[in-house]
Symmetry: D2
Subunit: 391 residues, 4 copies
């Protein structure tokens, strides 16, 4: 990250999730409603367990915004845990330790054990409370501020689910324009770009639930309207594709990231792997294809940025299925299965992906155009767009 | 990056590639021979053009090392351009500009055009000289220092090519142990783990050459002997998988990165997607599978780290094939094809991947154990390994 | 900063001051009582205006601590504004702008005007709400966590006021040991090391108040028990004295920083400007003087670190005195004087200085010894102390 | 630092000093002559030992500049050690260790001992070769590039010596305009703003030499033409005064830093400590005084930035004088005095101060205006200057 800094904090069942963002310019219009809208989008999704209903996330803006406009100061976003009163005994910052709900059974596929060893805990709850994907609510909150900024200069972010549990829509969506895929996904409980086929996904989710299984999947996030030349090739850590890859791979449960054609381009011949360059008076340079997914040489090309990510199935399995593991005190095996769990979180992860792309792009934009006064910066962006068309 | 900082510098046909590494502890043994060995490994590869023969890279250590040991001070690594005398007119830092070999034809699939717009150049040579994959020699030099450090505490890095131009060995290598794949790849001109089949790769490379094409491919990089608990889940940008993803996606021409089973795990059922946890007296915790590729919750699990990356075909095509593009001055189309070019750089990219993994892991190791005196740090690593076995 | 990151947020009359600290190891004992104690110390001070009475700062720990111990996760510290209900109309993050209490008169000696120009504000309240020294409460909260960590390994932080309004105790304290100066200052309403003379300070403060004036002064902050070798000479930005200087000069209203003898050493002969080195079995190396203030070559020498800072008088003056300035809309002069104001904030600034030194030293300590598990780190510190004695 | 990154490397008697600067925009005109001019200015100075004559520093630009213009890529600056051939046996990066000129006598006032302990060296040469003030040549080289950039937008940097060995010109220069002080200092062998009085400084230097002593002193560095609003109050580490303080205190041998009136303002009454604000059509806001030294609230005010620094006497003393210290192997005292040494380095330090101020200001400028294309950035600076005048 260059100009923006942000830190998220908070445990899954703690008092609140809190984030501070530093480096957002002054005079950007932003409201809690706008942020809440995106927080709600993260919570939609067929096949999610009970907690989603308890917590309809609402953000409170504690600093950095006055009468709906940023003032250049650090922005604090707090999402209170609505169920906190039921967790005070277990998660209190002060007082005597209680062993109530202490966790000594590390779950396979989770951070539990490695975090316990790294940080020296006998109660693994200390790990899982923070390692939990609940933290992604913070990222969506932070990402929403960045998204609003991008929208102001015509950059739109969207996402949709491509596959769940091996059932893929990849072939069927080729001819649907990106933004339409997004609009459709907004209508789908599963964020798929073909809501009419949602029933097929529900079937496999229901089946997985019945069998005590969980499912992963693949989603795509895109950005349109991005100016040419964000990111840079001059140093390895300034490449925008690298920053995007970190931002996505760093989302809980993500195991693969692609940009543009990704792995499939590795099998192609050179003549079919690249995007030819065209030029038109008044429009400037453009492509007729977008195999590169909007990034070449670590920089944006002006074409839509397209990122694809693979999410592993949720590691918490329900009764009937169980994975072998051992208690950290007794070293005896235990049954890791739970009464209930989400079956899949791919639709939610897609919304988190939108947030992370928003953050990376806002940072790159502010790096190129300055980050003091949004009124000033918007003019610079416009001036630069004129220049790129005339280059 | 946490404790380590490094900057690479230098143009492809400039006087030299220079890197400075800051944060390597004192008392680490390192020689230019060691670094040169890895620089040479990057230059091996069937199907590479003429330049590789001109430049047998040799590093000079200009600072930070005395009598074969680091002294805690920044390390400067310089790789001189042996062909510099033929380029002084074109690349001189001083003197009057010459239009000799000025470049106004932006190549599809390259940084040329976007870099020219971003930085305001009429001569695109200013872009391609730095955006060139030649820069990866610097990364290998820097990575070699990190690799030496890792070796000292029993962490081994290796790589091999999985596929080129769609011809894949993925299925055939499943039963070959990781380190053996690497040993075999070291014997192969194409870094494949089954050198006996190299002839098949050579065939498709020869065919591509004949047709004026280029080829991409997939490679894997791994690390064994990694202690548990490098990286962290506590903040998004401290997750080790995210850092690895940035490091790999930031290699020139890489379009996809996977850790462990990557995209394929997205299609699996939860019960088949995770690694069960076992424990044995004296050995500590371990797995019988390694689907996660050695990282869970953004931390190392003690299992081998496995990273897979997809490289697009080299965008420079040879005569016969051509991609449409327009001259930035005349806006007229031109023929972008060249007389000669590398056909594929996948084997070289695998070695660059080793370097990047070495850098990320050395940084994570020093973050956890301190970075002053390597003698002291090695003891801390050993102490921690004892602790993890007894947890 | 190396291992620690922290962001403070919040406006002076906003809902709350919030800070997030990232990088504090697990298993450090910390309570809100401990932090509140130091927050209260910041609020002591003769000659302070009314607000200090309204706001008896109390911290709430919202994350990162469980049952009195850190868990390695980011720590959120919130100090609510107890007067917030009276400020909602003026400082609300949402809703329609109100021009109530809008500020268009920039005060000399404040950030008002430059912040307004930089960020493009017509209401300078947007600046002063954040630029206010109220923000230092956050620093003290963050610094308290760091201070607790330092105390655990025998590093003690203290401060005392040397002069106010030109009345100096510098000559009189030469023979009082550092820690005693601190103990005495803790008994003084003005943090002076000779409380018996406080009446003289009160006299000049009362006189200043009468005349509508304000006063500045000089304070010293020290740390004892610091291990040898924190900081480094290997790169300009790793020098500990530089980091300390930034941390102090970055406190509101500070205009000068000295380490050890500071400016006065510039006038001395070389033979009287340095600390001779001695050695004793079992004790290791030591000095009989500490002219260097505990830092040489950007590293700690094991002697007490001594930092001195100069604070300018509070720029807000009371009726009777006024400084010329112009309204940003009308460009007409106005009377910048207020009904009431603090006369001096030097004692408070000394406590803020303690916080900043604590933060810089904790960061340097964690950089040298790792920052995962405090139990583990403490052992490393002890081991290193043994080593330094035997060197 | 925000947008700029740089690393310096190299040992005092090593092969070369090498620096890499990352983040300098493209299209900035820069030549080695320009840099060499400032390197030479660092080497001027009455009372300096023999080495200055051996090494007339000359920079080679190895990357990032083409035909006298930056290309946005990292800039490598190399200053070869002209005496390297005489040091190869002692400083070779490779080969067998030799104990020739091994150093086991730590000098008081130097980094020798603390560095040796920190990094675990038995030969303290490993420390002093890097801790040496010779490294400041790198900073001047890097600073020159930044200075050129600042000059292009009308920001001028200068310095002069205020006192040496207690002999001060402070009172006599009050009425000499800043830029004239600089012009005069450029004519003085000792960088004093009253060259006619240089003979008095020479007298005390000669006397010190005779007595085997060394001298410290005070210098001032300034910048004129700085736009309003560089730096920020929104976060502690974005305050420009803090960054300047780090940059100056991090220069070898500096023990105190002041901005504007510095420590003396602490003794003043509020009504005499601040700069009143005036406004004039077409000119905008201005002051008639500059007590603040050009920075308020961590931001530039448009007035000249004035920084004052105190340098301790060079710790290496000549025969006749000696400081007590003990050999690290035998623990026996030794005579630390040398045959010859510089008497004072204050004039050189002033030039290093110019470099550090240039670096900090260039970084702040690029942070506010972007750092891609200097042509574009210059227009933004001009546009902003227009805006500030009309605010």
């Amino acid at each position: 990250m260059g100009k923006l800094r942000f830190l998220t904090a908070g445990e899954s069942h703690g008092q609140a999730l809190v984030s501070i963002i530093e480096g957002i310019p002054s005079n950007l219009e932003i409201t809690s409603d706008y942020i809440n809208h995106h927080l709600a989008r993260r919570q939609v999704g067929y096949g999610r367990g009970g907690r989603m209903k308890i917590e309809k996330d609402k953000v409170e803006i504690l600093s950095g915004v006055r009468f709906g406009k940023t003032i250049g100061s650090p922005i604090t976003l707090m999402i209170k845990n609505k169920d906190w009163e039921n967790w005070t005994d277990i998660m209190s910052p002060e007082g005597e330790p209680t062993d109530k709900r202490e966790i000594t059974n590390p779950r396979p596929g989770h951070a539990d054990l490695w975090g316990g060893i790294k940080y020296g805990f006998q109660d693994l709850r200390n790990v899982l409370e923070r390692a939990s994907a609940r933290e992604t609510a913070s990222r969506v909150a932070v990402g929403s501020v960045c998204r609003k900024l991008l929208e102001d200069v015509g950059i739109k972010i969207g996402s949709y689910v491509v596959s769940i549990g091996g059932l893929s829509l990849a072939d069927k969506i080729q001819d649907i324009p990106l933004e339409e895929r997004f609009e459709r996904a907004e209508q789908s409980e599963l964020r798929t770009p073909i809501p009419e086929e949602d029933y097929r996904f529900k079937e496999i989710i229901d089946k997985a639930k019945e069998e005590g299984e969980s499912l992963g999947g693949v989603f795509e996030v895109f950005a349109t309207g991005v100016p040419i030349g964000l990111g840079s090739y001059v140093q390895w850590d300034r490449r925008l594709d690298g920053k995007i890859a970190q931002a996505f791979m760093g989302i809980q449960a993500i195991k693969g990231v692609e940009i543009g054609e990704g792995f499939s381009v590795a099998d192609k011949l050179g003549s079919q792997a690249h995007d030819e360059i065209f030029w038109e008076e008044g429009k400037g340079y453009y492509h007729k294809t977008n195999r590169a997914g909007g990034i070449e040489g670590g920089m944006t090309t002006g074409e839509p940025i397209i990122v694809r990510a693979a999410m592993k199935p949720i590691p918490t399995l329900m009764r009937k299925k169980s994975l072998h593991s051992v208690n950290i005190r007794t070293k005896q095996p235990f049954d890791a299965a739970k009464e209930r769990s989400d079956i899949t979180a791919v639709p939610a992860a897609a919304v988190v992906g939108e947030a992370m792309l928003s953050i990376v792009l806002a940072d790159a934009l502010l790096e190129k155009f300055g980050n003091d006064n949004w009124e000033e910066i918007k003019e610079r962006v416009e001036e630069y767009r004129r220049y790129t068309k005339q280059f």
